[in-house]
């Protein structure tokens, strides 16, 4: 059962006109076990919504379904007023729903700069016309993409690393590359799956700072995160899942006093 704690929460809850993403009654079973069992929530535009819950709550499955990697058994995913349920991941990404992964997913044998360039949307140089027209077909667009990528690298303090192979970076630096790569894709919604997992506390705080900045600039994010202090500092709204269902939504401060939340997650 879903408990909406605050009707005027900026996201989560039942959504509303400002919601960018609506997840409606999602269900997904694996061999008869319901990993997601009727989850519904919404993500408001221009804010960070966090998805929390104990291990096995179904968060990763929901993220997989929203991102297109997993097909739901039933339910709907509405993104920017379009039904994207069961669209493949690349089609979701092209609509502006871009995700990062819980485990490092860098392109190891590409440089840091190339990792970002891969993500630039609608690249002329990826079309077959490249075979016919060569470099003149894509050169100018590529130049603009390189400038954008370098701007991002400087902003995230990685300018010196642009020629380094991404596979040679530290775990935390790989996380930064993934976030920058996500931004390079010009997302409407950035879906971050535990972006600070396995990162040292200093860099984790740095990543948190970047996410706060991005939220301040109006980027919509759905954050899956275990560190509740981080969730509290970053999120305007929180969705709590347990046993495949959304059991509560609201702000972190409100959720801390809810017994069902405490039982399912906070106390555990």
């Amino acid at each position: 059962m879903t408990t909406t704690l605050r009707e005027d929460a900026p996201s989560a809850g039942a959504g509303g006109a400002s919601a960018l993403l609506h997840v409606q009654d999602l269900r997904r079973d694996f061999g008869g076990v319901w990993a997601v069992d009727g989850a519904s929530f919404a993500v408001a535009r221009g804010a960070i919504t966090s998805l929390i819950g104990p291990n096995g709550a179904g968060k990763s499955t929901v993220v997989g379904i929203v991102g297109g990697a997993i097909r739901p058994s039933s339910g709907q995913v509405i993104f920017d007023d379009e039904d994207i349920t069961s669209l493949p991941p690349h089609a979701c990404a092209r609509r502006g729903l871009v995700r990062t992964y819980q485990l490092s997913s860098e392109f190891a044998k590409l440089t840091v700069l190339e990792n970002l360039l891969v993500a630039a949307p609608d690249q002329r140089g990826e079309s077959l016309a490249t075979l016919v027209f060569g470099k003149r077909h894509w050169r100018e667009q590529e130049e603009r993409a390189v400038i954008r990528a370098r701007t991002l690298l400087e902003r995230f303090g990685m300018g010196e690393k642009e020629d380094e192979y991404a596979g040679n970076l530290s775990g935390g630096q790989k996380r930064l590359v993934e976030i920058m790569r996500g931004l390079m894709a010009e997302p409407k919604l950035l879906l971050l799956d535990e972006p600070m997992a396995g990162v040292n506390p200093t860099l984790a705080r740095e990543i948190e700072g970047y996410l706060a900045q991005l939220a301040g600039e109006g980027l919509t994010m759905l954050l899956v995160e275990h560190e509740l202090e981080v969730v509290e500092r970053l999120s305007q709204a929180v969705v709590v899942m347990a046993l495949g269902r959304v059991i509560a939504t609201g702000t972190m401060a409100e959720l801390r006093s809810r017994p069902e939340v405490l039982n399912a997650y906070l106390a555990g």
């Binding site: 871009v98 997913s105 891969v118 993500a119 390189v146």
Partner: protein, 338 residues
């Protein structure tokens, strides 16, 4: 002197064919992570196609050969036809093998396809004259030049080099472009590339078809030089020779794999000709396969990036072509400088 020149020109044509082959398989395996163990089948498709569109009617020469088509197309249409047919046949294979299967299963499917293709061609004798294969395939552009003359040998070396040059333009356009970068990204992390908007299946299907079309061209170039082609020319292990050349030369590097083509199929094979006969006849040939396999394993274990590794792409910060600083608001040039 003449004999040496004949030998040299023959080696050069073989080198050109091998270079086309390693570029093609490198696009698939080295750049894109597609394990095409049926590569040699598509080279064979190109060779057979070029053969049957060059030979003319099967009834000539006493009708001792049975094959389809029997056209007599002028040069260079047989070479183009070889590439096109190999590319076209790759589409249904790719649609089945690349859509749902993980790369290790793709490799198994390709290996099985390679074995099946040989059996089909051997047993359906009306296709390409069965186990005996095609022979007496005329050499191209022989007007006024005896195909057995040394001049013609050098002419064919020139033709092969020109074809290599044209193919390289297209290979380079793929590997140096954002298309090549997207392919390398799918190789490194398929799921992440997909999540950034890359249609991994379409990218892989493209490179499968494109690489196999080049394989077809390489087969056509070879068959028009040697004048014959049979199932013994394209056993599945031949793919492993091309693959070993790529691993040795430098996976993902067009220059590296050229070096591999020089070292493995050519230099290594030729060197063994000069070994003294030991043991029973044929032992050296048999050992050759084992040594090529071991060579691949040794490189994968100790030198996995090969002799000339894949290049690190760096992007220039300045307007390198003109030397001028970019004006305000004007994008900087961003050519890869290596």
């Amino acid at each position: 002197m003449n004999a040496t020149s004949y030998y040299l020109t023959t080696l050069l044509v073989y080198l050109g064919v091998d270079i086309l082959a390693v570029w093609a398989l490198n696009l698939q395996y080295g750049v894109s992570g597609v394990y095409n163990f049926a590569f040699i089948v598509f080279q064979a498709v190109g060779a057979y196609t070029a053969g049957v569109v060059t030979l003319g009617s099967p009834s000539q020469n006493g009708g001792f050969q049975h094959y389809i088509l029997g056209w007599h197309l002028p040069y260079p249409l047989p070479v183009i036809a070889g590439g096109l047919v190999a590319g076209a046949l790759s589409v249904p294979v790719g649609l089945v093998a690349l859509r749902k299967l993980r790369t290790d299963y793709q490799a198994m499917v390709m290996l099985v396809l390679s074995v099946i293709a040989t059996l089909v061609v051997e047993n359906v004798t009306g296709l390409f004259n069965g186990p005996a294969g095609l022979s007496l395939i005329p050499q191209p552009l022989t007007n006024g030049v005896a195909s057995s003359s040394l001049n013609y040998q050098w002419l064919y070396v020139g033709i092969t080099a020109a074809i290599c040059g044209v193919v390289y333009i297209f290979v380079h356009r793929v590997t140096s472009s954002p298309l090549g970068r997207a392919l390398r990204a799918t190789r490194d992390n398929e799921a992440a590339a997909e999540a950034l908007g890359k249609d991994v299946f379409r990218l892989r299907l493209f490179i499968f078809v494109f690489g196999n079309a080049i394989a077809g061209v390489s087969g056509a170039v070879l068959v028009q030089f040697i004048g014959a082609w049979s199932p013994g020319s394209w056993l599945y292990v031949e793919t492993l020779v091309v693959l070993t050349a790529i691993i040795v030369g430098g996976t993902g590097n067009n220059a590296g794999v050229m070096l591999g083509a020089l070292l493995v199929p050519l230099a290594f094979n030729e060197a063994t000709r000069y070994l003294p006969t030991i043991g029973r006849p044929g032992l050296i040939d048999a050992l050759q396969w084992i040594v090529i396999g071991l060579l691949g394993l040794v490189f994968l274990w100790f030198w996995p990036r090969g002799i000339i590794p894949e290049r690190r792409r760096r992007f220039a910060r300045q307007a390198a072509r003109t030397g001028d600083a970019p004006r305000a608001g004007e994008p900087q040039l961003a050519d890869p400088v290596v």
